[in-house]
């Protein structure tokens, strides 16, 4: 007897521009890549060798970046970081481009492929900026599907050309300083972010 041997963990990403008058524009609607970091988190969980507290295995952060155009044709399951994540040079002001920005940012470590802490592009800091995904932005849509709604308001990430996004598990190693790992990734067509619109990412993962 032959049994089906996989759960095809898949993801789907929709990106909307939402204008102040309520108009919505869907400008991206495609599958994404679940990265091997998801397997790292699951392996740590099921082998009992990671964090004790279960909330450390939740997907609670995202990053936006400006280097995804280099990866559009070549990205894959092995990605462990965004090509050029926001905040490495200018800090939180990349996300919170105005004092009215409502994207909550936390700063902690990013897990490299071997479990270590990855240095940023400056090669000096192990600390990266992560945008927090709130409880009410996580929707169970099916027994085996969940949707994350990432909200980038009109006052955030402005005057940047956004083209990549990633989801991160909170801290599967259970380190005192959080070390998040990339679990899903997608480069997308350039978006010149302005204060004319908000961005909403609807990211669905199916198990």
């Amino acid at each position: 007897m032959k049994n089906a041997d996989i759960i095809n963990v898949s993801g789907h990403l929709e990106i909307y521009k939402v204008y102040e008058n309520g108009d919505e524009e869907l400008f991206f609607d495609e599958a994404n890549t679940i990265t091997s970091g998801m397997g790292v988190g699951l392996g740590l969980l099921y082998a009992g060798s990671g964090a004790d507290s279960i909330d450390n295995f939740q997907i609670r952060y995202f990053q936006l970046g400006v280097g995804g155009d280099d990866r559009l044709e070549s990205y894959g399951v092995s990605e462990t970081f965004l090509a050029s994540a926001l905040g490495q040079v200018n800090g939180t002001s990349d996300y919170n481009s105005s004092q009215d920005s409502v994207v909550p940012i936390e700063t902690h470590q990013l897990m490299d492929w071997d479990g270590g802490a990855l240095l940023d592009s400056e090669g000096e800091r192990e600390l990266w900026n992560f945008a927090l995904i709130s409880d009410n932005a996580i929707k169970r849509v099916d027994l085996n599907s969940v949707t994350y709604i990432l909200y980038v308001d009109r006052n955030s990430c402005n005057n940047l050309t956004l083209n990549e996004v990633g989801l991160f598990m909170k801290n599967p190693l259970g380190n005192a300083t959080y070390r998040s790992n990339l679990v899903a990734y997608r480069p997308f067509a350039n978006v010149e972010k302005t204060d004319d619109f908000s961005l909403i990412f609807k990211w669905t993962l199916n198990f």
């Binding site: 041997d5 699951l42 060798s49 399951v77 092995s78 027994l143 085996n144």
Partner: protein, 228 residues
Amino acid sequence: MISGHITICKVYSDGTKETVLDRANMIVAGLGSSFLDIQKGVGSTVAADYAPAYFQIGTGAPSFNAVDTSGFWYQVCAPLSWQQYGEDTDLTITERYRGFYASSVIDGIYQELEQTKAPLSSVVFSGSDGYFANIAKGSVTKNFLDSFEAQIVLDENTANGLALTEVGLFAKNPKGFYLDTPVMMAYRSFTALNKTSDFSLVINWSIGFLGLDSNVDNHYSTGDIPNS
């Protein structure tokens, strides 16, 4: 993407070893739904409750066409009874409440979901009693960063005289109930294997992102990864 691989070996008392199965297995929906319970914060708050802690051996086979299976499958078809494991078995056998998802969407009758999905609003978590063999904590480990491995041993005094045809791996208690309520994570049926006292059966199970990332797969972790 998340895949499983299982090997079953006969190991004789003189040390000789014979591999009788070396195939993929079926990863079932309970693994994914338990992980999504974590994401929503509705399951157990203890990480160990999601790890494999029990298994069942059986003598049945699913009636569905397993080639087309969706993985919505929560049970070993004919699990061994307490007596069938054998009086002198080295295994610790415990009675537990097997967890599964049930719905009345099929023919209007409330029943365990088998090979079918149902709308989330119509699904409830339920269970039934059964006998489970414990997996020792040290028998679950990691050889690669993005997978885990579990080893099950049926010693020479276990399940003798039976034609074994299926095995299921169960998470400990992902719903976090007062008593362990195991939920199936992976399943494999196989050609009947007549167990005798001449040999032990060693079952090795690997589950994860197997062979997808050469970076990670080339990094043998021996259970540890950098922690500082």
